[in-house]
Structure formats: structure tokens, C-alpha cells
Symmetry: C2
Subunit: 341 residues, 2 copies
């Protein structure tokens, strides 16, 4: 680090120019709400009546390791993680901005692959990639800022609207990201697993799904509170409970486990429901809604090509309760198994 | 790095909660255009007819060194550098989002001091600090995303509007940031300098000015192109030239040097005009405008408490010419002296 020049405009400028070139190739004129994209001091957009904005930073060695994550996956995951926060507001796809820290050993080709991962998911989700910043750094850093749009702030769904008597429901499937991480870190665990199942779990960790369409559909269906499952279902249900001033109760045996999660858990000597409730990074959506809205919400999620499963309820009180099949209440702590390895 | 847990939600959550507490203390309800601030999946704002968005990342060891920059200054500079891009569009103050990478040796107190530097400049400039992300990292990383507003995209000024026959003008004073950096890196250079002048130069490097008010005033006065002087006047004039398809010519002896720059340059055996034209990080605004608008633009800048000095002209052709007092043309390369040390 000490030997790095403090003014190294040259290489950064070249990379920015190269990335700018890629953006132009990909999109032609700045699409969507953009009026000026990359190449000026700032991007200019024409927003809707309300915007939702979120920032997510991935750091090599903390959120991913280069031994197990290809640059393209890192790019995809950085954007997916940021978009998950917009999904959880019910915002429509808008713009993304990329701040990249590049260590000396990451070459131009790897940078461009990472960028291509971001660009690829941008195209798939209708996000306009409008610019950012590139700097030297001691490890790979990917900070993504995303902006989503709605006609009015009232169309966006926060965490504070859950009320006693409502039910909790979750999109898609849980536990796959945690099981995938275990397979990446301990390859010996996949011995007894079908290879396509194992690949699906690893992909779930490396390239999470984006629930933007489900988020806007669920918001339109009138869900009362919404959050993305990034820190673990228990922790995220606790966030809704705290913001709404209610208690949340989740039935563990009602959780929609991704196929293969139970097998990986068994091989590792842990409980599959613990992976689903505590593992995090599934990037599904957890919602609270009135019971008479469930049918409509399930149809809305289905229209966005994902399931919606009722997994619990909202009650008077505070905190989160995870109830096992035996009726026993388990602690809702985060997924400590890996943290303590 | 390898020993860091990959799921270390605990400490990050505490710091986010502490920062959230600070924001609430500072501002009460989310101010300005914000409807939901920190504490939900995303911040919700009600934007104007157009937004300008920019991202700027500072990395320890590349953009600052902890031996010479206090955390509070790092926070201020990160926000100031990002706001400089909004200033250069003529956008009005909006919102800021902070992504922080914190190494183990940076303690909570230092984090909060850095945050306080950001919050302090937010208050001074009317920016709403609405959230962000905090992660572990091997060195201190500060990525700031800023959003500014305008009634219409037409009110914002890009780099591409310069035309032959226009003049070039710059706000404030140049060379101070480069001279300040030399004083920070080579303290022996300030021996012959008045101590308050030296302190002013160091401050100029550590805590650059914010020209938001000047930017909106100059945009309203009708300047044709605008850019912030971040990479060095020559390089930035080159950006206007490239984007506008014109040549830019700058008279070096017309540059407004900050007091003390000439003395530091002399002590270091370099030319003060080189520091002013190549040093970068002055975060002044460079504009191209019709000659008959100069009086009005000078008054507009004056209303925003900064000078505006005519320093050159726009001509047919391409590239940038820096002309010395002797009429000789100098190369417009970036400030390589420090990079090559």
C-alpha cells in the first residue's frame, strides 16, 4: 500500500473509458429514466413521484472469497444484494451506480468480467447502469447504489406496517444460500448429494435471485410490511417486529426449504430448519399481510414466477419466536455456525 | 483477512444502530425530500423533475493516509468530493448515502468521528444523510453516493456544451490542494512559510470547499459547460474539450493561485503554475461561457461567495493548450510529480 502512488489517474481513466465503452455497446443511448449516463460529472435522470435508494458493499474476504467466487458472480451478487432492498420496498427497476476498488493482482480481464456480471443482471432486471467510480484498493471492493421508482411514496412498503392478526409469508425457498456456502467451504459435504442439486445450492449462494417483480406485485396486492431475507429469516422477522412494535411467530416446519438443504444440513450435522431460519443471503421477501389478502398475494407472487408460503403470524408483544415441529421455541439468533468456525 | 468471520452481523449492526441514532439526533424527522430515512430497506424520497447522481470512493493508502488525515477530515473530504460532481452539474443539494468499510484497527470512536465529519458537512450544505452500509474491510473505505435535484434536466449543465468563441473561467483559487499535499508529505517545506498560510494549504487538501451554491448560480446564469477541477485543471479542461468537440486554451499566468502556493512550489523546486494546472483536488468549477455572459456569471459566483476568473478560451480543434507567460505551450499532462515519487 505505502508504495502505491496517490495520483494514479492513468490506469483508472483507462478502465473507466473501457467500462463506458461497454455500457454504450450494451445500451446505446441511456435508457429508461436516464438523460445523461456515464461520461459526465453525474448521471441525470427523470425520476417518478418517489424514489427508493439503497447502498450495498461487498468486500473480498468478508462477503466473498476469490477462491470460490468468479468475478462475474461477484458482480451479479453485488447488484442482486442491492436490488433486494428495492424489491423489499416494492419499487420498480431504476438505476445502478458501481464503485469498484481494484487490487493490483486483479487484472483488467477480471474487472471486465465482474462488470459484465453487473451488466448482465442489469439487462435481465431492466436496471440502467449509469456510472460510478473506480479506484485502486488492497482487496476487491464492490459498492453498488441502486435507485428504484414508484408513482408515490404511499406505493412503497416499509417494515413498520405489521399489525397483530396478520400472517407472515415468504417468497421462494429458504436455506439454499447457507447450504451452498457450506458446500463451497467444505466440498466434502456434497459427496452424498445429486450433482445438479449441489450445483443449484452453490449457485444460490453465488448468484441470488432478484425478486423485483414479486416485490412490486406484492406491494400492489396490499401487503402491510415487507423486508428482504438477507440476514436470516429470524433476524429479518425481528426487524419487522421492532419497526412495527409487534411480535412475529414463525413455524419452522412450514418453511419452504430449497431441495438439497436438508441433505447438506444432515451431512454437516446441523438442522435444515436452522439453515433456513438463520442462514441469511436467500434474498427472498418476507411480508406481513391481512389473512384475507393471502389468496391475492399468492396469485401476485405467482404472476412474478415465485411461490408465496404462509409461515407464521403477527401478534401483540415484541421480538420473534421460531417454533419447532415439537412446539418448542428456538432462539432467533443469527446463523452463528459459520461465524464461529 | 482469512481469519475474519464471514458473518459478523453483530458489530456491524451495533455500529449501524449507533450511526442511525446520530442521524436522528442531528435531524429529527428525515428532512427535505426524504420520506423514509435510515432504518428501512431503502430510503424513500420525493425527487424534483430531474436528479443528478454521483458516486465517489476514497480508499486509505490511495486517496488519504491515516498518518496525515484525521477521521473527521476523511469523512468531510469524501462527501465534499462527491458533492463536487453535483456542483459541476448545477444541481441543488439533495441526499447522501455512505458505504463504509472499517478495518479492525479503526475503533468505534474513529468511525463516529468520520461519520461526524460527513454529518457536519451535510448540515453545512443542506444534504440529507439518509443511510448506507457498513462492512468490515482491510483498510478504511468511504464510498459516498450523492443525489442532487433540479426542476428539469435542461437546468443541469454537462460537459458537452462548450463552443468556439466562448471563454473559460474558474471559481475560487487553484493549486492549494497540491501544495497542501506537499506540505503534509514533506513537512520540511513549510519552514519558510507563514504558519497560517501553511495551515490554510493543508486544510485545502484535507477539507476541500464545496461549490454547490456557485454551481447552481452559474447554471442559472447560463454557462454552456461545467466540470469540477478534481483531476487537475489541464485534465479537466481536456474533458470539456473531448466532450464538446473543441479545443481549450488556458493562459497559465492568469490562473488564480491560492496564497502560499508559489512559496511551496519554490521550496519544492517546481513551478507554482504547474501545481495550479496539474495538481488536482482543488474542487473548483471550470466553466465555458459566452463572453457577454461573463459579468453576469462573475456576479452569480460572487453571490455564492466565490470569485470567478477568466483563464482562457474555447477554439476550433481538439485537446487542451496550457500557455506559459513566455507564450510557450506546456503539456497538459496530469500532475505526475507526486505520482512518480
Amino acid at each position: 500500500m505505502e508504495g502505491e502512488p496517490r495520483f494514479r489517474a492513468g490506469p483508472e481513466f483507462d478502465l473507466i473509458a473501457e467500462l463506458a465503452g461497454r455500457i454504450r455497446e450494451a445500451g446505446g443511448a441511456p435508457p429508461g429514466r436516464a438523460r445523461i449516463g456515464l461520461g459526465d460529472d453525474a448521471a441525470v435522470t427523470v425520476p417518478g413521484g418517489a424514489t427508493a435508494t439503497s447502498v450495498d458493499m461487498l468486500v473480498e474476504g468478508i462477503h466473498f472469497r476469490r477462491e470460490t467466487a468468479l468475478p462475474r458472480s461477484v458482480g451479479r451478487k453485488a447488484l442482486a444484494a442491492a436490488l433486494s432492498d428495492l424489491s423489499a420496498m416494492g419499487a420498480a427497476a431504476g438505476e445502478a451506480y458501481l464503485a469498484l476498488g481494484v487490487p493490483p493482482r486483479v487484472d483488467r480481464q477480471a474487472c471486465l468480467e465482474l462488470y459484465e456480471g453487473v451488466a448482465e443482471l442489469s439487462r435481465e432486471t431492466g436496471i440502467s447502469l449509469l456510472g460510478g467510480d473506480v479506484s485502486a484498493a488492497p482487496v476487491l471492493i464492490v459498492a453498488v447504489t441502486v435507485v428504484g421508482h414508484a408513482d408515490s411514496p404511499d406505493d412503497l412498503v416499509g417494515r413498520a406496517g405489521a399489525r397483530p392478526g396478520q400472517v407472515l409469508a415468504v417468497t421462494g425457498e429458504l436455506g439454499g444460500a447457507a447450504a451452498g456456502l457450506m458446500l463451497l467451504e467444505r466440498p466434502e459435504l456434497d459427496r452424498s448429494l445429486d450433482s445438479s442439486l449441489a450445483a443449484g445450492l452453490r449457485r444460490r449462494q453465488l448468484e441470488p435471485p432478484v425478486r423485483l417483480a414479486a416485490g412490486t406485485a406484492l406491494a400492489a396486492a396490499g401487503v402491510a410490511a415487507m423486508i428482504d431475507v438477507s440476514d436470516g429469516l429470524g433476524a429479518d422477522a425481528g426487524q419487522i417486529a421492532a419497526a412495527s412494535g409487534v411480535a412475529t411467530r414463525i413455524e419452522l416446519d412450514g418453511l419452504p426449504l430449497q431441495e438439497g438443504v436438508a441433505e447438506v444440513a444432515q451431512a454437516a450435522g446441523v438442522d435444515g430448519f436452522d439453515l433456513a431460519a438463520g442462514g441469511g443471503e436467500d434474498y427472498e421477501l418476507l411480508v406481513a399481510l391481512e389473512p384475507d389478502l393471502v389468496t391475492e398475494a399468492v396469485a401476485a407472487a405467482g404472476g412474478a414466477e415465485t411461490a408465496l408460503t404462509v409461515i407464521g403470524e403477527v401478534a401483540e408483544g415484541s421480538g420473534v419466536e421460531l417454533r419447532g415441529p415439537d412446539g418448542a421455541v428456538r432462539p432467533a439468533s443469527g446463523f452463528q455456525h459459520l461465524a464461529e468456525r
